[in-house]
Symmetry: C2
Subunit: 210 residues, 2 copies
């Protein structure tokens, strides 16, 4: 998008929402590492948390280069994420991993639609974050292995996944809508359908029905 057509605050807001999302991923993954059932899981999750932290730092650096006050801007975003967090409390370690797999996947699909708000440099930073699939790959493998080991986990996680997707899509639509980041209601509706279809593919990859 040309500089003239792009409102400066939509640009910074998009980056701040992404940064806060990565921060949330970082915190959740670090907690999952802390409560991991084995040292191998702990070490794997700490690596994942490290990637999220690197994403967060790259986004913060870009926000600051654009003159944004990260703390002040995040204060405006924080309640949306807090509300989602409170409405989707995992009951155990696998449900927390599943939350990362479902929620972060959905948010990232929405973020892609907001890339249009970004200048070239910001878009490069944001795209590098969105193209990093290491978290998803790790969680998919670890969840699949848990499902293979525990007979009742598949049905429980399928149910939990449905709860998560409803909350995540609702929350993401609010965020995107509130800051006017991805077009009108029609555009957001079409986007939501695409997001749901990607979500179904992610659930299928675990052998679960969305």
């Amino acid at each position: 998008m040309s500089d003239a057509a792009r409102p400066a605050d939509a640009q910074v807001t998009t980056l701040v929402i992404m940064a806060f999302g990565e921060l949330t991923t970082f915190e959740r993954t670090a907690t999952d590492a802390q409560f991991a059932p084995s040292v191998r899981d702990k070490v794997g999750l700490v690596d994942v948390a490290g990637h999220a932290l690197n994403h967060y730092q790259a986004l913060v650096e870009r926000i600051e280069a654009l003159g944004g006050d990260v703390v002040e801007l995040m204060q405006d975003i924080a309640p949306e994420f807090t509300a989602f967090g409170e409405r989707t409390r995992p009951r155990d370690w696998y449900e927390s991993l599943m939350k990362g797999y479902v929620f972060d996947g959905i948010l990232r699909d929405f973020y892609r639609a907001a890339l249009v708000n970004l200048d070239e440099t910001s878009e490069r930073v944001a795209t590098a974050v969105l193209d990093d699939t290491r978290q998803t790959e790790y969680l998919r493998a670890r969840l699949a292995s848990g499902i293979a080991d525990e007979a009742d986990l598949a049905s429980r996680l399928a149910l939990w996944g449905r709860r998560l997707v409803a909350e995540a899509v609702d929350r993401a639509r609010r965020l995107i809508g509130r800051f006017d980041l991805a077009g009108d209601d029609g555009a957001i509706g079409a986007l939501s359908q695409k997001v749901m279809s990607n979500h179904s593919l992610r659930m299928s990859a675990l052998g679960l029905v969305a």
Copy 2:
């Protein structure tokens, strides 16, 4: 220390204990970030967690360069840290910050005595970790500001500090003793006195009596 005089397993064990310590710091700090009372505190603690993560990664890299299997080695260390964690559960956010300030300070003093087990490259990696005072400085400033704001916090944290120091010194002596990392009982006794004296200085820096 020359290669001939240094047992290879003491070398790797020292690095693994340090790495697990940094991992624990990372997890605790990320949790403190998650429950931080403000976005400013959250952002500050995430930075601190990032430093601990970098330390952990540098130590892991060195352990792997020496041919150590990090996961296997950590499995042996984990119960000592878990036991300490369970015996010192913070009741709130400030007590958790205080735990980082007191416990990590004490462990680091003990680690310095174990540097004698390391070859030159490992010692350089470990010393860079021990010389990084950013966590301590951040926690000192944040705890001091909390104490200035809340009338009853000073006495509560002083009491909590005494509980922590007793557990931390006991735990560190067990670790060091179990793996024979810092000389005989006499040497460890002298070391413990030095550690207690440094601890008193850290408490004084908060205006508290150890």
